[in-house]
């Protein structure tokens, strides 16, 4: 019996060693991926800086080669913010652009507010239904604001509203912008640069999304940047910086950008139409379209490029309450799972080049499977510890390494942010962001993992819909700081 017990014990110890080795290997993979991303992100940041210096905004404003852009703005129940947002968009610095707002069957007075504010009148504009969208109820334009067109249509969701705007666009480039986001005045001039440098191959370019909470806003513009005063938005700031400054820059360098954010992305109109527009019945419509573009061009063996630019900036408000953040994060993760499932044949497939192997492969390992493994770890490790089966010194060392590496990556992203930014960040803000990078490891990171796991449940239950995002509004942001 004692012998049997010893055998069992040996077997268990071997299993623990195996788990130790596996944990180390996973950590190695994780660290390797991040280190690779940091190096490639640095290369891409330098390339972007080079392009920024060679194609200057002044030249673009004075030359006649800038490509006309249609800004597609889907709006649903936005009566409180839509007028300010549009005034800000109409004041953008770009030689030739139009704004096409699509009122997606709002239940509030969004349309009436627009009609009153911009003196809209019904317009007999001819359009073609190139991509599917619900029936249009009317098209409006304004003599005072000739750049503005408003579509009123039956409710069909965000994708449907974007498709509606794309159908009315007559320009070679369409820029998708959220109605509640704010663009930097020169954001379009910056975002269009890759299309000027490589007019034939470029099909889509994504801009950087930054957190507006804590900034000072006047007349729909950020006049003084700052960091959020509340903890939750502050932690999200660090997350946004890390995501955009490391992951997306790195993907851009490796030609495998698989998300052009729906809040701010520029697309070749013909490419969007060629692949059938934004897909309905998904909450990850931005990622889905980007992946479909990769799929289309790879399958047709046509040269193409999709890039991310770190200096074309769009400001967005992030949730300040856990409830809304949870809904947002679960929805994002669910959208990602839907895309991975729909395009599962692309994951790790060399046929789809770097987009399939690295782009979707990364999402599959780190964002789809990763949270499950992490949650299993949260269950198994305390159990093992309680049962006295845990190699405690090893476990502590492992946790320390994980923590130190997480902070190192966040500091790296702050470094890249500093490299690509045009503004004077306050040293104090930098220090607070670095502290936030430490704090996020205790609780916030674990919550995020749980929400991602929740998204798995929602995905398997085939949950649909967006939920609601309650925003404080930009005017309130302005009130947070003395003018």
């Amino acid at each position: 019996m004692i012998l049997a017990f010893l055998n069992w014990r040996e077997l268990f110890l071997s299993a623990v060693s195996l788990v130790d080795a596996w944990v180390l290997a996973t950590l190695g993979l994780y660290a390797g991926c991040y280190l690779y991303q940091m190096v490639t992100a640095l290369i891409e940041a330098r390339r972007s800086l080079r392009q920024a210096k060679s194609i200057t905004p002044w030249w673009m404003l004075s030359s006649k080669v800038t490509l006309p852009i249609s800004l597609c703005v889907p709006a649903y129940n936005e009566e409180k913010t839509i007028v300010d947002s549009l005034r800000s968009l109409l004041a953008l610095h770009y030689p030739d652009f139009e704004v096409i707002v699509c009122n997606d069957g709002s239940k509030d007075k969004t349309l009436q507010v627009l009609i009153d504010a911009f003196e809209l009148k019904p317009s007999p504009r001819v359009y073609n239904l190139s991509v599917p969208c619900k029936p249009l109820r009317g098209v409006y334009s304004s003599a005072r604001f000739p750049r503005l067109t408003v579509i009123d249509k039956e409710n069909g969701g965000k994708s449907d509203a974007i498709n509606g705007s794309v159908n009315l666009s007559r320009n070679p480039l369409v820029c998708v912008v959220d109605a509640d986001s704010m663009l930097e005045p020169d954001a379009l001039l910056r975002l269009v640069r890759p299309f000027i440098a490589e007019p034939e191959e470029m099909v889509a370019v994504g801009g950087k999304i930054r957190v507006v909470n804590g900034c000072e806003i006047r007349s729909g513009r950020v006049v003084q940047t700052g960091i959020p005063k509340q903890l939750l938005p502050l932690l999200q700031s660090v997350e946004y910086i890390r995501s955009f400054q490391i992951a997306r820059l790195s993907w851009s360098q490796a030609q495998c950008v698989t998300i052009i954010s729906g809040a701010f992305g520029l697309f070749k109109r013909s490419a969007v139409i060629e692949v059938g527009g934004f897909l309905h019945n998904t909450v990850g419509e931005d990622m889905e379209l980007t992946v479909r573009l990769h799929r289309h061009y790879r399958e047709k063996k046509i040269n193409y490029k999709i890039r991310y630019l770190p200096d074309a900036i769009c400001w967005t408000e992030v949730p300040a309450s856990l409830k809304i953040l949870r809904a947002q994060r679960s929805r994002w993760a669910r959208g990602m799972l839907e895309v991975l499932y729909r395009h599962r044949s692309m994951i790790f497939s060399p046929r789809y080049g770097s987009a399939g192997v690295f782009g979707l492969g990364y999402f599959f390992i780190f964002d789809a499977v990763g949270p499950i493994i992490e949650c299993l770890g949260y269950l198994i490790i305390p159990t093992c510890w309680l049962a006295g089966m845990l190699n405690t010194p090893f476990f502590l060392a492992y946790m320390g390494l994980l923590f130190a590496f997480g902070v190192f990556v966040s500091v790296g992203s702050l470094f890249l942010e500093e490299l690509t930014t045009n503004e004077r960040t306050k040293p104090r803000d930098l220090a607070i962001l670095a502290l936030a990078a430490l704090v996020e490891n205790f609780g916030y990171r674990q919550l995020n993992t749980l929400w991602r796991l929740e998204s798995w449940y929602q995905f398997l239950r085939k949950k649909r819909g967006w939920g609601t995002m309650v925003r404080a509004g930009f005017t309130k942001q302005a009130a947070q700081r003395p003018v």
């Binding site: 060679s54 002044w58 440098a197 490589e198 500091v411």
Partner: protein
């Protein structure tokens, strides 16, 4: 050393690196912010002085006396920036002041700088000085390893009207793969009438499709009707991009001699070419294109139908009558687009 120790040392190393990097970043940002604030204030002061000097050039010695050693860097940035925005007599005075200050010599030296941004900025500044030495330096800069510097040097030469040969520009700026950047396209569009003969010669030579597109586009923008016969050689070219560029240029030149080519392009197998042909027919005002345009209202592709309807409207008179006729036609596509365009132009309720 045990694995455990390695892990702990790694933790320590990562934490140390993070703290060092963050500390360095904060210190650097703090120094940069101070420098930026100082530079901005000094730059504003220099800008005021420069404007005063332009009004009273005799105060040059006084101005120079006020300058500090580090001001030259700021002045170069300031001049580079202002040069793009100032025109007319102020631009001339500006150039005079820069010459007095020895900016030309400084830029010529900076053309050999290690950083391409400095070299490109120097090319940009030199674009207002037509001295032989400047032109020679810009010719040399065409051979720069950085494409950005080459484009800036070519732009400066175009601005000075000192392009030696279009072929030379093509050699340094155009690659065989894909269409050139729009910055290069813009440069060629500004070559002006002086380059027409050489551009025409280039259309006859053996060149890549990318070069052909560039040359055809430049010919369309040179506003010289002797380009039309040469352009007519390309309306049936196998490359779609060449055919499109040809039609675009013919539309810009608006010469009725283009009629046969445009009419043929209206039946092209590619919808984009048919669309461009309809636009060109409308721009030239080709009455003989009306029957074909009417037929194009039934095209499978919406953009072809829409541009054909717009062209009929542009042609006017019989074209508009044709639109009214089509709006009552049994063919749904034709009737819809004709009616839609008539409404859009305010010709139908």
């Amino acid at each position: 050393m045990s694995i455990l120790l390695i892990i702990w040392w790694s933790c320590l190393a990562l934490a140390g690196l993070s703290i060092l990097a963050m500390g360095g970043l904060i210190l650097q940002r703090s120094a940069w912010n101070r420098r930026d604030r100082r530079d901005a204030a000094r730059r504003d002061h220099l800008k005021t002085l420069a404007w005063q000097l332009m009004e009273q050039p005799d105060r040059f010695l006084e101005f120079q006396h006020d300058l500090r050693a580090e001001d030259r860097r700021l002045l170069l940035h300031l001049f580079s920036d202002l040069l793009k925005k100032v025109t007319g007599k102020y631009a001339d005075r500006f150039v005079r002041v820069m010459r007095m200050m020895g900016i030309v010599e400084e830029c010529l030296i900076r053309l050999n700088d290690r950083q391409w941004t400095v070299r490109a900025e120097s090319c940009s500044i030199l674009s207002v000085f037509g001295d032989p030495a400047v032109k020679m330096a810009l010719y040399r800069a065409l051979d720069d390893p950085a494409i950005e510097v080459r484009v800036e040097a070519a732009r400066a030469l175009v601005r000075l009207g000192a392009v030696r040969s279009v072929m030379e520009l093509i050699h340094y700026l155009v690659t065989e793969e894909g269409l050139p950047s729009l910055a290069v396209v813009d440069l060629f569009r500004n070559l002006g009438n002086g380059a027409v003969t050489e551009l025409l010669e280039l259309t006859r030579g053996e060149t890549s499709d990318a070069t052909k597109v560039l040359v055809i586009d430049a010919l369309g923008h040179c506003n010289d009707l002797q380009a039309v016969p040469a352009l007519l050689e390309f309306y049936a070219h196998p490359s779609k991009n060449v055919r499109l560029a040809t039609l675009l240029s013919l539309g810009l030149l608006r010469d009725p001699r283009a009629a046969p080519a445009v009419l043929l392009a209206m039946t092209d197998s590619d919808w984009e070419v048919r669309t461009q042909a309809a636009i060109t027919a409308g721009l030239i005002g080709l009455h003989e294109a009306i029957p074909l345009l009417e037929h194009m209202l039934e095209d499978d592709h919406w953009w072809v139908r829409y541009r054909a309807a717009e062209a009929l409207y542009r042609v006017g008179g019989r074209g508009i009558e044709a639109l009214y006729g089509a709006s009552a036609r049994a063919h749904r596509f034709a009737a819809e687009i004709a009616w839609g365009v008539l409404r859009e132009k305010g010709l139908a309720a």
